[in-house]
Symmetry: C2
Subunit: 476 residues, 2 copies
Amino acid sequence: MQYSYRQLAERISAEIERGHYRPGARLPSLRSVSEQHSVSISTALRCYRYLETRGVVEARAKSGMYVADRGRVDLRLPVTAVVARAPVAYDKLVSLQHRLTELYSLTEQDLPLALHLASAAPDWYPCAALAEIARRQLQRHPTRLGQYPTGTGWPALKQVLLKHLGDCGVDLQPAELLITNGSTEALSVALRAVAQAGETVIVESPVYFGLLQMLENLGLRALEIPCTVAGGLSLEALEYALEHHEGVRAMVVMPAFQNPLGSAMSDKNKKRLLRLAEQYDISVIEDDVFGDITPHQERPTPLKAWDRQGRVIYCGSCSKSVAPAYRLGWVAGGRHHSRIVSLKLSHSLVTPWFEQVVLAEFLQSGALYSHLRKLRERLAANIARAVTVVAHSFPRGSTLVSTAGGWWLWLELPPTIDCLALLRRAVAEGIAFTPGIVFSHTSKYAHCLRLNIARPWSAELERGIVRLGELAQQFV
Amino acid sequence: MQYSYRQLAERISAEIERGHYRPGARLPSLRSVSEQHSVSISTALRCYRYLETRGVVEARAKSGMYVADRGRVDLRLPVTAVVARAPVAYDKLVSLQHRLTELYSLTEQDLPLALHLASAAPDWYPCAALAEIARRQLQRHPTRLGQYPTGTGWPALKQVLLKHLGDCGVDLQPAELLITNGSTEALSVALRAVAQAGETVIVESPVYFGLLQMLENLGLRALEIPCTVAGGLSLEALEYALEHHEGVRAMVVMPAFQNPLGSAMSDKNKKRLLRLAEQYDISVIEDDVFGDITPHQERPTPLKAWDRQGRVIYCGSCSKSVAPAYRLGWVAGGRHHSRIVSLKLSHSLVTPWFEQVVLAEFLQSGALYSHLRKLRERLAANIARAVTVVAHSFPRGSTLVSTAGGWWLWLELPPTIDCLALLRRAVAEGIAFTPGIVFSHTSKYAHCLRLNIARPWSAELERGIVRLGELAQQFV
């Protein structure tokens, strides 16, 4: 009887499942399979290739085919490069916008486990302290609501931010800092200051989809440069790209911590990055919004600290670390600062005072440091728990990148799993995550996902992650 | 003895001052002057022309030269067109940015009479009521500060705004409205949605300088179309410009109330404007931020009410009418709405929730209507007082345009007065106003000024206006 390769593959799979071949065992050669099942060599080959893409078997060079060792999820420490693999067949013509539209429509309902967000749960923020300061301010200065704010930011806020930045190694004067409507506005005006429509801007890959949309809306072309989970932007790839592409004007980087990888760039590489930027005369926009969000008790030094030429445009925010609802960001534009101020003023005039006044008082009180210490302890504890749960629930062949910073885990599932399809299934059970496909114009990350774990640990959260792993198993 | 025309002019001026010729009296003919003073006819002519530009004499067609009747300031009702006159010699190369830089540096100190602002004094706003709502909200929902806001605006705010707009004749659905960081952001994304860098946008003249800066920063070219103080944008001039300029993509108009003229467009003209926009297929951005600010108890119907094609992009705000510190605006983008939403999201993500929640509760309470009634009564009383004071203090030959709306008076001083120079003198005495020169790329309005009168009437304010008039006299 002639088998098709799929029938043959099912048969061999069943034998593996029944223990006829143990994990790690050598499988029969192509010739043996051909003779044993009366199929052609080419059918045997297609069968093994099919099983390989499903993660059931693995080829070893010059040695033959083995049963895949799927005993545990590969808990990779951040040492390996994220390799481009695109077995999920996405139409190249399907734009990022379509993917995001589906993500938004899937997640617009209130979900019990909305693990697709890029912020922590309200419980993790100092809401009560901020509300108390706000109430006192309203009592003391009610007419402040009637005053048109002016200038580049509430002076007291700028002062305390400069102190905080100084503690991180970034020394600035008040005139060098501008308060914005969140770091998104900071990024937007920074990009408009350094690049004109039609020009090219380097971004990391994978990268926060909001940045890709912003570039598209500004008429800028994104050049995606691969990241390593160990060290963020690959400087080798960056240098190669700079050698081969003309007219690159700027790059946007997240040295700490890259969204969605959670990776951190070493100080040595930050200096190397700056030297490359000088050599090719391009501006560097540093997005530091996640810089304070780490399971370790110390934050990395921003790239800006090594900038002696005013080449780095530094963007920060309180939306991740202190108050998501505040939408306050800041930008230190270096040599582009006056242009950035002019663009910001003409886009949205000033940034509201009230939140600035409250945030300033919160920071002046020194409460930030105890808040961050608690936040980081909670994050570290949750990462440890989540890693264990993921390792026991997700399909064999998954890779979990334990995070250096950020609110989430980044998971690479077996390459045949379409995480957007997985999301559709998961949302039906009240669980959302961010599918990797939205973090690039390519389909490289279609089998990846970003999973937010920044909320009080609960049986519900644990069950949710386990269930997500079970659903993923169905897609293997 | 041969006189130069300037010496001759001084002599004739002195004779007028001494009462040798009374206001309104006919002056000697050119031939008589020529014979009497032994000058050539052409010197006599230059002399009279010089006196005419100084407002000392006036020519009457086919009748000769008369002593100007400067007995009182011309209290023009809004019926005459603002005519281009540019006797103040500004270097054409001096850009708007330089003028504004000087304005900002002159007014950055705290001045007792900062009458250059475009908002009312804090006392005129419902600060206490808003602060009370805010305090209650903070007590009730402290963790709301920890939540990342999402979507196109706080649903309850959108709902009550739609009701308010419906009362004005503008019927919209929630999906057609987007909340922005002030109307400035609304304008900015509207412009980006309808015009590309290098294209031309029609604006009113004189016009709010922030709009001119915004266009420049977006790489758009401004085509300034004259306004009449009676009816805002001159439709005759608009039609002429549309006939003669190719590639106009959009126009920005303030039918109620034009900043800085304070003029209102008639309903008939709004409909005519829409027909012209259809005929030439251009988008109309309606800036309605001052629509509620009028000394009359009824506000005009927005242009948007007559829009059946989704051609009008409507921009509103609470910064002028309710809470200057809130920086909340909204935009109904018609056929461009989805593009506008996308641009806004990618520029600054969402608009902060907290102020939206407070404003929604304030509007739901119905307090807006009693607030506006009181505001308008105060404005009407102040306009009446200020008009009297100006009429008695400012130089003969000044024209005061009594305002249909807005927080200010618009004054045209005698054409030889440089209001930027006047501002330098006035600031030294603690009084600021907005010099006309910043309301155009041209120098047409160098002899004009905008004077804010929206604050509790006081002896200090009255003395300030009187003193400003005295200072202006020194520039005649």
